[in-house]
Symmetry: C2
Subunit: 374 residues, 2 copies
């Protein structure tokens, strides 16, 4: 094991050049502009590269090009009881997307507030990253203004919910309003006429978006919404349960309850169960995020799945886009129908379009087979 202290010196471009009997410049060209080389020369260099298993040194390349080949992503502290498992799969998607262009994701943490922003600034000052992919976007997120002002590249997963109307920076987001409207349509077709909504008074713009989808769809169907909206104070199962209790205590309780997150939905199911009622049979319940929780509970939770791979790919496209235009991209989500609100049948055929305005993905309606088997 003493061997470990001897660091092998890595193969350099110079050694490749010597082996291939060409200049270093030519090796660099073989790597970065192969079209400039004669086929024979290119083959010779490529052969040497393969034999030596040569890989260009990242730091040296970055120092020359001025690009780190890395983007920063801030990992949020997991709040207890909360589940950002969506982030888990987003991170995988983001990493995959970066690798497809030879880049990687650098992780960091940042405290909330101004000092947190300095972490972003330091990373840029060190040229450790080329820019940032933001998530957990809040309404009037300070990061957007701060980064834009300093001319730091970023792309935001989550709309830039600015009150001013101006959009500082590019974003990609999922059409939560459309997804929730589709859920309302499905529940309405199932016969539900009182549909409640459990939201959150947090600063996340996504909540507002989802609630708006619920409200507008209800109004479109002529359903009342007054008194059927309850806000939670924090993102926990207990809060979701408390909110649902408030709804179920009404003289005319809702027969269906939609929740802004899966975590809340779990609380709703718990509240329903505690009253001796059965989720999915006596009271329909839906969530949002399609976290592992959704397929784990009994009955399975009908939820909304976000297209993480496309979100990640779009974010990177925006981040590295040559033009600095602030573009916004809205992607459709997919409804995953399970036993807690089986809207599969009610939304067959033409109604599938309701899932998203510009249906680019396989964002249609799908049933979790795994679940229905059980």
């Amino acid at each position: 094991m003493t061997q470990r202290s001897i660091r092998h010196r890595a193969v350099t471009l110079r050694q490749v050049a010597e082996r291939a009997a060409v200049s270093r410049q030519t090796v660099s060209n073989a790597l970065n502009a192969p079209h400039r080389l004669e086929p024979a020369t290119l083959a010779k260099v490529t052969k040497a590269i393969d034999e030596l298993r040569y890989r260009p040194n990242r730091s040296a390349r970055s120092l020359s090009t001025g690009s780190a080949g890395l983007i920063g992503y801030c990992v949020a502290q997991r709040r207890d009881g909360a589940s950002n498992s969506m982030m888990d799969s987003f991170l995988h998607a983001l990493s995959t997307a970066m690798e497809s262009v030879g880049r990687h994701v650098l992780l960091f943490t940042a405290p909330p507030g101004e000092s947190g922003l300095n972490v972003y600034g330091d990373l840029i000052a060190q040229q450790a990253v080329d820019g940032f992919v933001l998530s957990d976007t809040e309404r009037d997120d300070p990061r957007h203004r701060w980064l834009t002002k300093r001319d730091i590249r970023f792309a935001s997963f989550g709309r830039v919910w600015s009150r001013t109307g101006r959009e500082p920076g590019p974003w990609v987001d999922v059409d939560g309003a459309a997804a929730c409207a589709t859920l309302v349509d499905g529940l309405h077709a199932l016969g539900h006429r009182r549909i409640g909504f459990v939201g959150w008074n947090g600063k996340l713009g996504a909540e507002e978006d989802r609630r708006r989808g619920w409200q507008q769809a209800c109004e479109r169907h002529g359903l009342r919404v007054g008194g059927l909206y309850v806000r939670c104070t924090e993102d926990t199962v207990a809060e979701g349960e408390r909110a649902a209790q408030g709804l179920l205590d009404r003289a005319k309780p809702p027969t269906a309850i939609m929740a802004a997150t899966d975590v809340f939905a779990l609380g709703v199911m718990r509240a329903v169960t505690k009253r001796g009622a059965r989720p999915g049979e006596d009271v329909a319940v839906t969530g949002f995020d399609d976290s592992p929780l959704a397929s784990a509970v009994t009955p399975g939770l009908t939820s909304v799945r976000q297209p993480v791979a496309e979100i990640a790919a779009t974010a990177l496209r925006l981040l590295y886009a040559p033009s600095g235009d602030s573009e916004g991209v809205l992607l459709p989500a997919a409804i995953i129908s399970r036993a807690s609100a089986d809207i599969t049948t009610t939304l067959a055929g033409d109604d599938r379009r309701l899932v998203g305005a510009d249906l680019r993905l396989d964002a249609g309606l799908s049933t979790d087979r795994q679940e229905s088997k059980t």
Copy 2:
């Protein structure tokens, strides 16, 4: 927005030197060997650094020192229905630990098998990372041998479960056997005499460790284990449910069922519920990982929490340890008692030591207050 295309040139060490009216060398010393400078000189340089908000260029530094200041971590693809939310919090802990020494985590993905190993090799060849932190360790994990052979630094979260007895590389792990033994002790004190175990036939050594803890503790108490062990074929709730059904179908079914993961435990709870029995009252159920799932279900799931922060810190200590000795560190876990198996009272006082052999953490028994309030 056209402004964005103009990249601000970052402040360099040279500019700091000019402003402070010293040589560049002196600025570098102020950064890396401040003790060599006279207090007055140091103050002068520090002032210039602050005024200019100077941060050393990472690529340049890496190129000089030969250290990337980055370690690689492979993000696993989330399997549907499974939950590696433990990994979520581990990633946060790992990032935090790296930042405390001015380093960061680089994320990457790798396909299973040999081609996946090449991803590790390429990252090192590029000198993009100094080494790796491994997780999801399997028995005879090929990565350990492969990396050791190539003299690539790594630290493994998860023991190196080698059949040969030799330990290729340093590791840090959680004493799952001790934690499961403690659960058995608690259940035994509660009066349970038939305790089943739902495991997994996967290649994860952690499963074997947990099962062993269960088995040895049962034998110590004179409880039978024959026929009370069922293996799942995949890490899903449905499999956990199927396994539990097998146990509950026995002539003398277990009155308590321990599961190797929270996901399995959820399946166990589902199986219990489907038979009209109540988890925590008719049949005690425990899980492992203390994922968000554990506090989300009803009743709350008694589970085992791994000390992620200390795991991360230890992994980095081993990774950057000057000596290349292969050290192994076993950390104790904490039992989180909830309603599915309320062993809080039975394990009061002296028995707390059972949680882990060398109790360094606050790894004692704790009750999830959040949960018990509900």
